[in-house]
């Protein structure tokens, strides 16, 4: 080793250097400001421009909120009180909030019912959304919720939702007994059991129409933000099973089934929701047996559900495609048949990775429920544009009303999308 020369002598450190704090200029608030706000002249310029833009926006927004008038009976009174201080006329919200939330035909003394249903919604979805925190058997709350919510919002005898629930319960019971033999047997057995129970239950509900009845409210009386919530929740929930079926159909090896699903999905995704709402409004009736007529709200729910299920199908298809091929092969090699391998192995995993995408579709769909105002339904946007702005009292109060509607949507959608991002992070760590 003689070729190594003098400068590479061995070196050993015998004492450990303790960690030192960074120099003052390189740490704390000063360092933070230097790297985040004033790094170079272009960055500083950007900061100044941003500050100015912020000032422009806030100089309008702050007085609008702080000088706002909350107590007035009409817009003229509002203007008198404000005297050009640039405040907002929030009195319109104080005056009309019941209409904005519940629509103008929902009976006032029953407002507690949809409100309760709204609160219960959180309890119902919590076990679904935070499956790690809540025990599995709390999912029974989720299962009961739709019937309870129906009873609360639409009213009528409690027997109807109970019978519906019992029917589903009986169907599920029969299904779970038979499904180990064959999926087809379980499925058809379950459907048969449910139909029998509903048929028999029909006699009971028919005999006692007033049993524990709440004042019934017709579908066309639903309105305001409540209508947006109803449409959003119902259509997203209904579109999930349809979406799963469509996704499976599109992935299947059977050309006919695949063809039907592809055509449906691509058709629905290719047209705007408005045209489907037109169908619900003016066309759908032509395709139903003569003499049948059902609610506009029901027709709208059908069309929005079809719309959403096509988008959900695409999300789930992505989830199915993202599963490693080994999962399919492993399921097959265990001797599971198609329905078993899908039900037990593939779908649980595919759905799990699709949740963020499904949530995005749900947010988009919830925003799209405002489109029903175009076919003259009175959701929150329809109410603002129709009855409220047309009234002599509040004709001309635009920003406060639209701002209020925007705020409601923002709270819900931002909340959901934050949840989705949290879930995505969870999934990312799960897979590591």
């Amino acid at each position: 080793m003689s070729d190594m020369h003098s400068h590479s002598v061995g070196f050993v450190r015998d004492s450990v250097i303790p960690p030192a704090p960074p120099p003052a200029l390189e740490s704390g608030i000063v360092k933070w400001m230097r790297t985040n706000l004033f790094a170079g002249w272009s960055n500083t310029l950007l900061t100044l421009v941003a500050l100015y833009a912020l000032y422009l926006v806030l100089s309008v927004l702050v007085p609008w909120i702080t000088n706002g008038v909350w107590n007035a009976s009409n817009i003229r009174e509002c203007r008198e009180i404000m005297q050009g201080s640039g405040g907002g006329c929030f009195a319109v919200i104080a005056d009309r909030w019941q209409q904005l939330i519940f629509g103008f035909q929902y009976p006032e003394e029953s407002y507690w019912r949809p409100s309760l249903a709204f609160i219960l919604l959180f309890i119902a979805v919590a076990p679904l959304l935070f499956s790690k925190i809540f025990p599995r058997n709390l999912l029974i709350l989720t299962a009961v919720y739709p019937f309870l919510a129906f009873y609360l919002i639409w009213g009528g005898s409690i027997l109807i939702p109970i019978m519906a629930m019992v029917g589903f319960g009986a169907g599920y019971l029969v299904y779970s007994k038979l499904v180990t033999n064959s999926f087809a047997a379980g499925f058809f057995g379950g459907v048969a059991a449910a139909v029998v129970v509903w048929y028999l239950g029909g006699f009971i509900t028919g005999a006692m129409p007033g049993f524990l009845a709440l004042e019934p409210v017709a579908s066309r009386d639903m309105g305001g933000f409540m209508l947006n919530m109803i449409l959003g929740v119902i259509c997203v929930s209904l579109s999930l099973p349809f979406g799963i079926l469509l996704a499976l159909g599109r992935q299947s090896d059977l050309p006919v089934v695949k063809g039907i699903c592809v055509v449906f999905i691509e058709f629905v995704r290719g047209v705007p929701l408005i045209t489907l709402l037109f169908v619900a409004n003016v066309v759908l009736a032509y395709f139903l047996p003569p003499g049948t007529s059902f609610d506009l709200i029901l027709r709208v729910i059908i069309m929005i559900t079809l719309f959403a299920s096509a988008y959900i199908a695409e999300v789930i298809r992505g989830g199915l495609a993202a599963l490693p091929k080994g999962q399919y092969e492993a399921a097959n090699s265990l001797g599971l048949d198609y329905t078993q391998s899908m039900r037990l192995i593939i779908l649980p995993q595919a759905l799990k990775i699709s949740i963020p995408g499904i949530v995005n579709v749900a947010v988009g769909l919830f925003k799209d429920t405002t489109l029903v105002s175009v076919i003259s339904m009175f959701d929150i946007v329809g109410l603002i544009r129709g009855p409220i702005l047309a009234s002599t009292d509040w004709n001309g109060v635009y920003w406060e009303l639209f701002g209020f509607a925007a705020l409601l949507f923002f709270i819900v959608c931002y909340g959901i999308s934050q949840y989705s991002q949290w879930l995505e992070r969870q999934l990312a760590t799960d897979h590591r």
Binding site: L46, P272, V374, Y398, A405, A406
Partner: protein, 404 residues
């Protein structure tokens, strides 16, 4: 599979329709097909009976009859004597106009906001995050209505521009913001105008030629030819020069207040502006997220490797990051364009006469031909969606990164 089942050939039993892999799939497909046909037949039969009951039929004759209504924005010649078909075409053109305008604007806004969200300036990052979240989480219909209200409620009426001491004045004496729309100067082509236009086209071609020349010189000799400022100069100078030499053949016709309204110039209606900007700002928020995700998808290692080779930040961006990020960004970008086109059907909420407003709105109501109108309407959107997604698939296959 086939080697397993082949020996059984010839001994067909009915139960094999369900248990044999050869027949099973045919059985299921047959069931699906029958179910589809039954459903179609059911709907079709209902349709026939319903139509018969109301004494109606399915016919597209109404398209060739006079429409009898007026459309306020007419890219092609149209009056109330024109046919419904022509009204539909006007609507289609109006849809395309607002869609193209909104796509271009949304791309500019989205790319700007997306890049700014990755800025090293904390304040700018936060402001852009607020923009993205605020617009993504509120329905686009509400944004359309808000901007429409600004256009129709907050802007002064044309009468405010009148009199000795008008309460409003035109911006730089050229643009008038009124509640009936924005009036901008219209170009007037004098004799020789085509030479100016030709010069402009030629200088655009010149810019491309310059870039190509610069690349060639770089590859041949290693000399970098500056392109940015020469391009800018080439863009403006020759055209302006020719314009003034020829004695300004392209003039501007300024909007002018006559009577109760502005005349001359080009009127951009509030409904168009509301739709255009609301769609652009709303979709821009989504595009910003796509751009950010696309740039972030390129690993930090790429920047470091390029930096370690001595490339400067702007070259790293243009040679390494952007070519890769674009592959990630363009597919979602195009689906945002499709969303804009579909969302432009919300025009009906502000009275902009797009195809939903003409064919799906007034034509439908006047003729009562609901099925035919809605069908044609859907067909139009379907054709646009399918053709764009076909082009997208071709593009995606052509830029796919080569893998083992």
């Amino acid at each position: 599979m086939s080697t397993l089942t082949d020996p059984q050939q010839g001994s067909f039993r009915l139960s094999m329709l369900l248990s044999d892999t050869r027949y099973r799939s045919y059985t299921f497909q047959f069931i699906a097909l029958v179910a589809l046909i039954v459903a179609m037949a059911f709907l079709g039969l209902n349709l026939v009976r319903n139509l018969a009951a109301q004494g109606l039929d399915i016919s597209y004759d109404f398209l060739s009859s006079a429409s009898g209504y007026d459309i306020n924005q007419r890219p092609i010649e149209y009056d109330s004597q024109s046919t419904h078909l022509r009204a539909a075409v006007v609507g289609i053109l109006n849809t395309l106009i607002v869609a193209v305008l909104a796509c271009v604007t949304a791309t500019i806004i989205g790319v700007f906001a997306g890049v700014m969200r990755l800025s090293n300036n904390w304040l700018v990052r936060k402001i852009m995050a607020v923009y993205v979240e605020a617009f993504r989480n509120v329905p686009v219909l509400i944004w359309i209505l808000i901007i429409f209200s600004i256009m129709t409620v907050s802007l002064p009426a044309p009468s405010a521009f009148r009199g000795e001491t008008p309460t409003s004045t035109m911006f730089l004496d050229t643009v008038a913001f009124t509640n009936r729309g924005v009036y901008i100067p219209a170009p007037v082509m004098g004799p020789g105008a085509w030479i100016v236009i030709l010069t402009f086209v030629a200088s655009i071609l010149g810019i491309f030629a310059l870039r190509k020349y610069a690349m060639k010189t770089l590859f041949d000799t290693g000399r970098i030819v500056p392109t940015f400022w020469p391009s800018v100069a080439l863009f403006f100078l020759p055209t302006l020069l020719v314009h003034f030499i020829l004695g300004r053949p392209i003039g501007l016709e300024y909007p002018e207040l006559r009577g109760f309204n502005f005349q001359d110039g080009i009127q951009i209606r509030g409904s168009l502006i509301a739709l255009w900007f609301a769609l652009a700002i709303y979709t821009g928020a989504f595009i910003a997220e796509n751009v950010r995700a696309g740039i972030q998808a390129i690993s930090k290692g790429q920047t470091e490797a390029a930096g370690a080779l001595g490339l400067r930040p702007n070259r790293i961006m243009s040679l390494v990051i952007l070519p890769q990020a674009l592959r990630v960004i363009i597919p979602p970008l195009v689906s945002q364009y499709l969303n804009i086109t579909k969302n432009s059907s919300l025009a009906i909420a502000v009275g902009y006469m797009d195809v939903t407003g003409t064919l799906g709105g007034i034509t439908l109501n006047q003729t009562g031909r609901a099925i035919e109108s809605v069908l044609l309407l859907m067909l139009f959107y379907l054709v646009i969606s399918l053709s764009i997604s076909t082009i997208m698939n071709i593009y995606n296959n052509s830029v796919k990164l080569k893998e083992r």
